[in-house]
Symmetry: C2
C-alpha cells in the first residue's frame, strides 16, 4: 500500500529553538546532495528567495560547494554575490548549480570527528540554519547534524528539502525531481513508440527503453502513462518490484508482435532475476573478458533477439532523463520551489529536524499542500511501487497508479532559449573567505 | 567542402508533362520512406494541405501504408477521410503517421517487375502525382519510377520530398529532420554536461552520449553547439569522418578531467578505427559469446575505464533523438512543411524528377529559399561533414560549423499537451478500395 503522509504528523517531534534567533540574524547554509535533478535548483531558488526576505532573522546566505564536501572542507559560496536574476534563473536551470556530492556521512558512533568538523565550520561562519536538499541518506545526515548540534550545545535548525528522481521518500506523496523525470520518460516512451510502430512492417519490431530506478520502479511506471488504450505502448514494463521471469516475458513479447506488429518495453535499471541478481549483471563481457556493467536495456534486447530474432533497438536515457529541464513538469517545478520556500518558513518558526512533505488533497482536480515531517520518520526508509499500482501480470500500471502519477507530470514549464538552446544559468560562485586554519582531509 | 545547392540548378532537367493534366484532375499518392523523423509528418501536412488547395488538378489524395510497401501491395489510405484537424495536427506529430519502410527497390535491370507493379497500381488508381518523402535511396527510387513511367508511357510526376535526420543529402543546404535531432542532441549534451559537472567531485567524471549518424557526423557535430566557451562540454566529439586514435583520445580524456574535473564525450554511432571497423563492433560479447552489436557508447566508456578507472556513465539516445518532436526546431518544422508544399507546387507546374532543395541566402540573419533540384543529382550521393567544420585536433567543431548549424536549431515549436503529454494525432487510416485482383508478394 502507498503510505500517504498522515495529517496527524504533528509538531511534537519538532524542537523549538528558543528566542535567541529573534535577537540577532544568523547565517544560512544550503547544500545539495546525491544525484541531481531537473528541479533541485528550483528548490535552491525557493530557499534563497525566501531567506532573502527574512533579513531580520537570516544574515548571510551561503551554499556549500559540492554538497556536504564543501561544508566539511569549508568551501562555501557567498550567494549575496549572485544577482537576483541569477537566483531567479535557478528555477529553470537543471542539475546542481553549487555542486552536489555522493558522500554519505558515517554514523555518529563510527565517525564523530566528521560531525564535529561540520559544527566547527558552522560555528566559524555562524551558521544558524542548515538546509539540506537531498533524498533518504541526506535526511538521515540532516537529522544527525541536528543531534550533534544539540549534543555540542550548538544551536542550529537543520531542515531537509526533499529531492529525489526515484520518488522513494516516505511520508510525502511524491518527491520534487520525480515529476519531471516521469514526464520525460512518458514522453520518450510515447515518441519512441510512434517511431517503432511506423517502421515495424519492414524494420525494428522491438524497442527497449532503459530508465533509472535501482530499487523502486516509479520512473519505469511513469513510462506507462504513454499508453491510454489497449495495444498502445509501452506493452511491457519491467519493475524492480516484480521478479523477472524470462520465459513469461519472452512469450509476452512474441504475443505483442503478433497482435500489434511491434513491442515497446520500458525496463527499470533495477529489474531483477527471481534470485535477486540484477538483470544488468546478467552477462555481457567486453573484449578483455571483463563483465560489462550497466545496460539492462541491451541485456533485455539481447534476450529477445536470442529467442525470437526480431530486429530491435534500445535506448538508455541515463542522465538525460534526470537533467531534462527542457521538458520539466510544471507541477514538479512548483513543488520543488515550494518545498525550498517552506523549509525556510519552518526554520524561521523555530522548527528543527523536519522536512516539508507533500500531502495530496485530491487527484482530480489535483490539489496538494505542504506539512512538516520529522526527519526521523523519513531517514533511510524507501517507498517502492505498491503491488496494487502494478497490473496482475506484473507488466503494466493500474488505473490507480495512473491516477497517482498523472497529476505529477501536468503542465509544461519551459525555460527561456537563446541561440536555439535553453538559457541555463551558471553561478559566479564567489567563495566565502575561510576562517579556519585547519584543512580537512576527506 | 560543403556542397551548397547552386542557384544555377535550373529546370533543364525537368520534364514538362504536357497539357492533359490541366483537363482532368488526377490523383496524388504520398509515401514516407526510411527512418522517420520528428518532422516528416510536417512534410506530409505540407503536401496534403497544398494538394487540397488544387482540386482542379489534383483529385483524390492517398497515402501509401508503410511506404513503398503499401504502393506495391495496393495498401492505400484515403486521406479525404481524415479531418482537416487531423491533417493540421500532423505538423506537430513525430514519426511516420502512415508508416514508413526500409525497403530499397532494386535497379530496373534487376527487378523490372517491381517497377511495373508500381505503375500497375498507379494506373489502377489514376495516380498522376507521386510524392516520395525520404533520403538518398528514396530519391533514387523516385527517379527510377519517373523513368519507368516514361518507358511505359504512363504519365506521372515523381517529386522527391527531402527527409533525413542524417543531413547527408547533397544539393540542399540541410535536410528537414536534421534540425530537430540536432536541437535534441545539443540540448541533451548541455543538460547531461550540467549534471556531470555538478557531481564530478565525488562521482561520475566521464559521460558518453552516443548519437546517430552511421556515415556522416552531422548529428554528433550538433552536440558541439552545447558549449560556447573553452572548457564547456562536450569536450570531445568522435566523428565518423575522423579515424579514431585510441591513445590520443584517452590522453585527451585524462587532460579534460585534470583541467576541468570531468569530461563529456559525444560519439557518433559511425565512429571508426583507422582500419575502417566501427568502434561499435570492437568487442562486447553477450553471455552466449555472440558479438553484441550496437552501443559504441558503452564501448568508448569501457575504454576510459580500462585506461583511467574513472567513474563513468553513458547514454544511448537512439530513437528518442529522432522522435523528439516535443523539442523540435522551429526552423526545421517550417522547412519540413515548406518542402512538402513546394513539392506539390513543382508537380502542378509540370516538373518531374525533382525535389525542393533548401538554399541558404544568409546565416545571420538566417534566410533561406527553396529551389528545385533534379533527383539525378541527389540520388545515392552522401554529404559528410567537411574537414574545415572539424577542429584541427579532430575532437570539436569550428566556428564555421557553428555558423552553419546554429540557425538550424533556432526557435521552439511546441506541440499542444493533454494530460501532461504531447497531444500527438493518430490517423484513422481508412483504406482505399482495392482495384487489382493480383496480390503482390514482397
Amino acid at each position: 500500500m502507498l503510505v500517504l503522509p498522515s495529517a496527524a504528523v504533528g509538531l511534537s517531534a519538532v524542537q523549538i529553538q528558543g528566542s535567541q534567533m529573534k535577537t540577532k540574524p544568523r547565517n544560512a547554509l544550503y547544500a545539495q546532495s546525491g544525484g541531481v535533478s531537473a528541479v533541485i535548483n528550483a528548490s535552491a531558488c525557493g530557499v534563497i528567495e525566501a531567506a532573502l526576505k527574512a533579513p531580520r532573522q537570516i544574515g548571510a546566505i551561503y551554499a556549500a560547494r559540492d554538497g556536504i564536501v564543501g561544508a566539511l572542507t569549508e568551501n562555501l559560496i557567498d550567494l549575496s554575490r549572485e544577482s537576483r536574476a541569477t537566483i531567479r534563473a535557478l528555477r529553470y536551470t537543471p542539475a546542481g548549480a553549487f555542486g552536489s556530492a555522493r558522500f554519505k556521512l558515517k554514523g555518529i558512533e563510527q565517525n564523530r570527528a566528521e560531525y564535529e568538523r561540520l559544527i566547527e565550520v558552522f560555528r566559524a561562519h555562524d551558521i544558524g540554519y542548515f538546509f539540506y536538499n537531498g533524498g533518504n541518506d541526506s535526511m538521515d545526515t540532516a537529522l544527525k547534524i541536528s543531534q550533534i548540534g544539540a549534543a555540542l550545545n550548538y544551536p542550529i535548525a537543520c531542515i531537509g528539502v526533499p529531492k529525489t528522481v526515484d520518488n522513494d521518500l516516505p511520508h510525502t506523496d511524491c518527491c520534487p525531481g520525480f515529476g519531471s523525470v516521469a514526464k520525460y520518460v512518458a514522453i520518450s516512451t510515447l515518441e519512441g513508440g510512434l517511431d517503432v510502430v511506423s517502421m515495424a512492417r519492414t524494420s525494428t519490431k522491438v524497442f527497449v527503453l532503459e530508465v533509472m530506478g535501482r530499487h523502486a520502479g516509479w520512473i519505469a511506471a511513469a513510462g506507462g502513462l504513454a499508453g491510454r488504450k489497449a495495444g498502445e505502448p509501452p506493452h511491457i514494463i519491467l519493475f524492480p518490484e516484480i521478479a523477472f521471469e524470462q520465459a513469461r516475458f519472452l512469450q509476452r513479447v512474441q504475443q505483442c508482435v503478433t497482435d500489434y506488429g511491434y513491442c515497446v518495453i520500458v525496463v527499470s535499471e533495477g529489474a531483477k532475476h527471481p534470485d535477486g541478481r540484477f538483470l544488468a549483471e546478467a552477462g555481457t563481457k567486453d573484449a578483455f573478458g571483463h563483465t560489462q556493467l550497466g545496460g539492462v536495456g541491451p541485456v533485455v534486447a539481447g534476450m529477445v533477439r536470442e529467442a525470437h530474432g526480431y530486429k530491435y533497438h534500445w535506448a538508455v536515457a541515463d542522465y538525460l532523463q534526470r537533467a531534462a529541464r527542457h521538458v520539466a513538469s510544471k507541477v514538479d517545478v512548483e513543488q520543488a520551489y515550494a518545498v525550498g520556500k517552506a523549509a525556510v518558513g519552518y526554520a524561521l518558526k523555530g522548527m528543527n529536524a523536519v522536512m516539508p512533505g507533500i500531502q495530496r488533497r485530491s487527484s482530480t482536480p489535483y490539489r496538494w499542500r505542504l506539512a512538516p515531517v520529522p526527519l526521523a520518520l523519513v531517514a533511510n526508509v524507501e517507498k517502492t511501487v505498491p503491488r496494487h499500482f502494478i497490473t496482475a501480470d506484473g507488466f503494466g500500471i493500474t488505473a490507480a497508479c495512473r491516477r497517482y502519477l498523472e497529476p505529477l507530470i501536468a503542465g509544461e514549464d519551459y525555460p527561456p532559449y537563446r541561440h536555439g538552446l535553453p538559457a541555463y544559468v551558471r553561478i559566479k560562485g564567489t567563495p566565502v573567505r575561510r576562517k579556519l586554519k585547519t584543512e580537512y582531509k576527506l
